[in-house]
Symmetry: C2
């Protein structure tokens, strides 16, 4: 980020920023004007709220999730009393991890996974153990082998959670099927007796609403038995405005009560102003109208990036094209490292283009030797007009690297 | 809070809420209108910021603190690079404690102190040890005796911090003199060799700007040697609008870098919209103009409360009248308990008036038997017009209790 700021010609395909040009400036201005139109009406917005978050926002969130999940009847897993509002979904990940895990405990993660979550685990002295992913998400056979192995070694007694970025996965862009999530949850439950405690599934759905192609996939909340074992982390920041940081978590008791105590200690509740903006945006349909535009925008940006890949990447380079979210996952031949110490990375910086080295996204207890030849390339934050040039620069660097490796 | 909501006749003199009627509704609306007046100008406000907070806000904060502290020359302790923006000062307290303390460590606190901070300590498995306070703040002789005792027992090796609510203390309303802060810091330094590590002074200045009488007291940041040992937690929420939750911390390296990593894990930065509102409010003088009005408002509310005390309290009841902040500290004869299980508390609830029992504000390792006869009575959140009636109700309950105890 420092590099991007100091070099105006830099095109960052690294940052997980959202599209800048489509931010809802007018919409937010009008919402605030309405919220604060007169003193009596405006005061509650500017006063403290309550720790779990605004009641209406919790209700709207529960209803929205239930709709997204295609559940008709009132479901226990979508009860508004399970919904907690937070300062972004990140805070939910942090608090849940703090609530469930003690130093030395183990969390299973996808290999690769969201690198900031690896930082959270590390900062709590927890072990992240990687589970392999295939083209359609988590490798269930590897999950089962890992659980079995942990059972035999006794390590299962330290296992608290499986963390999944289930929609347009960061960094790979993959979405996991409902069936896989259900089977993963069933597997976890089978090992609970050996663990001696619940093993939770933490579903990070931060990118869920950013789908621009294909069919909606229900969350793990609809799986039988999910009510007591699934924790869902979502956000309104990426789909609406990242400067209005509001996320939410859905979680069962007694975890909810523990996390509320932690939330009380963190900040006793997310800023009321930003919550009220979301209440209005959701309630008046402004959010959905914006989301429609945003999805079209990302569809366009990803199509432009795909075309640029096809034009500029050497034939030795592969990529996964996402159906939503912000990321392409790019793989070079295995002999060509692209990590921060690599020549490719340095050449890219020199060529004024940035990406995220894939190796940062692997757990230290990875399921295999950490691949050095992968990168996350984002179309989220870059300006539409800059994407072809950014990819052209990167393509040139990679063509040189492939030639050099021959 | 649940009680207040469910019983509309309830007058809460308990909550630490700020004055509702003076919230800057029009001012905030105009600021947001200006911030979001057109798309190009508005986008940065709605995009992610950086983890330590907006550069301009950090600079304005450093300058403001330096001015409040009466320091003319650029001071290392007031360097903007030491300022971190947070979601309220509470988050600073939380992160600093997480950064400095390991399970089993000891933090010295005033006896009584801010009860939410006691919760933070407890949730991290830390020990809170109480230091006595006199009418003018911390009892330095007791601090020294405690340090000496800890040195002899070896417990000093677990001591990481002294936590002080130094302005209009919650719950007692006291403000500590600069001299006392300087002497406390000097004492801590004397025991660092025995501790084997730095012992920090965490100054919680959440109420500082809410002074309505008397002279400004400089913060511990101006004390010689403060640069490397003083952590300062402040907030813009209480002086401006609690619904726009923005606080800040000032801290030395290497602590700053550790806390930034924690902040990155929590939420990688406070909502940009709320930060930009403060940038405008501070930069355009709106904040100071509002603060002027707010101080007059609290002066009036506290005067009304004082008059009501004089009128309605039985002669056996004593109170400390504050020069700022939100709280009166009230003491009954020692034979009359007022805690949650007490008859007085139940009678007060029945009479539709709430206060905070003082016993909640004592560390479990208190310096003495925890007094059961104290209460925190707030004029912050109650409506001005309700204060006389609230105090009248409380006075009636207390007169009955005093009569009963005779």
């Amino acid at each position: 980020m420092a590099l991007t700021l100091s070099r105006p010609d830099m095109i960052s395909l690294a940052a997980g920023f959202t599209d800048n040009e489509s931010l809802p400036v007018r919409e937010t201005r009008e919402i605030v004007r309405e919220l604060l139109s007169n003193p009596a009406k405006g005061r509650p917005t500017l006063q403290y709220g309550v720790t779990p978050g605004d009641e209406t926002l919790r209700l709207l969130t529960a209803e929205r999730l239930q709709r997204l999940d295609g559940v008709r009847k009132r479901s226990a897993a979508h009860d508004p009393r399970r919904v907690m509002i937070s300062g972004g979904s990140q805070q939910i990940l942090y608090m849940v991890t703090e609530a469930l895990c003690d130093e030395g405990d183990i969390v299973l993660v996808e290999d690769p996974t969201y690198f900031v979550y690896l930082g959270i685990l590390q900062s709590h002295g927890l072990q992240a153990r990687g589970i392999q992913v295939d083209r359609d998400g988590l490798n269930l056979a590897h999950l089962e082998r890992t659980l079995e192995h942990m059972k035999r070694s006794g390590a299962i007694r330290r296992l608290k959670m499986l963390y999944l970025v289930s929609y347009f996965h960061n960094p790979t862009g993959l979405t996991m099927s409902l069936e896989k999530k259900a089977r993963a949850l069933a597997l976890l439950r089978r090992y609970e007796r050996a663990a001696g405690h619940p093993i939770y599934l933490l579903e990070d759905a931060a990118y869920r609403e950013l789908r621009f192609r294909g069919e909606e996939v229900p969350s793990a909340l609809v799986v039988r038995g999910a009510g007591s074992r699934v924790i869902y982390a979502g956000t309104y920041s990426k789909p609406f405005a990242t400067g209005v940081r509001v996320g939410f978590g859905v979680m069962p008791e007694p975890l909810f009560s523990t996390v509320i105590r932690i939330k009380g200690n963190h900040d006793f509740g997310t800023a009321n102003l930003t919550q009220q903006i979301l209440v209005k945006a959701l309630g008046l349909g402004i959010y959905d109208a914006h989301l429609d535009r945003l999805r079209k925008r990302y569809a366009r940006k990803s199509a432009v990036m795909l075309r640029a890949f096809q034009q500029h990447m050497p034939p030795e380079v592969e990529w996964w094209t996402p159906d939503g979210g912000l990321y392409f996952w790019v793989r070079l031949p295995s002999g060509i490292p692209v990590g921060q110490p690599s020549r490719v990375f340095k050449d890219a910086v020199r060529a004024n283009v940035l990406y995220v080295p894939g190796e940062l996204c692997y757990a230290s207890q990875s399921s295999r030797r950490i691949p050095a030849n992968e990168m996350r390339v984002s179309f989220g934050g870059a300006r539409l007009a800059d994407i072809p040039e950014g990819v052209a620069r990167l393509g040139k660097v990679l063509r040189t690297a492939v030639r050099r490796a021959r």
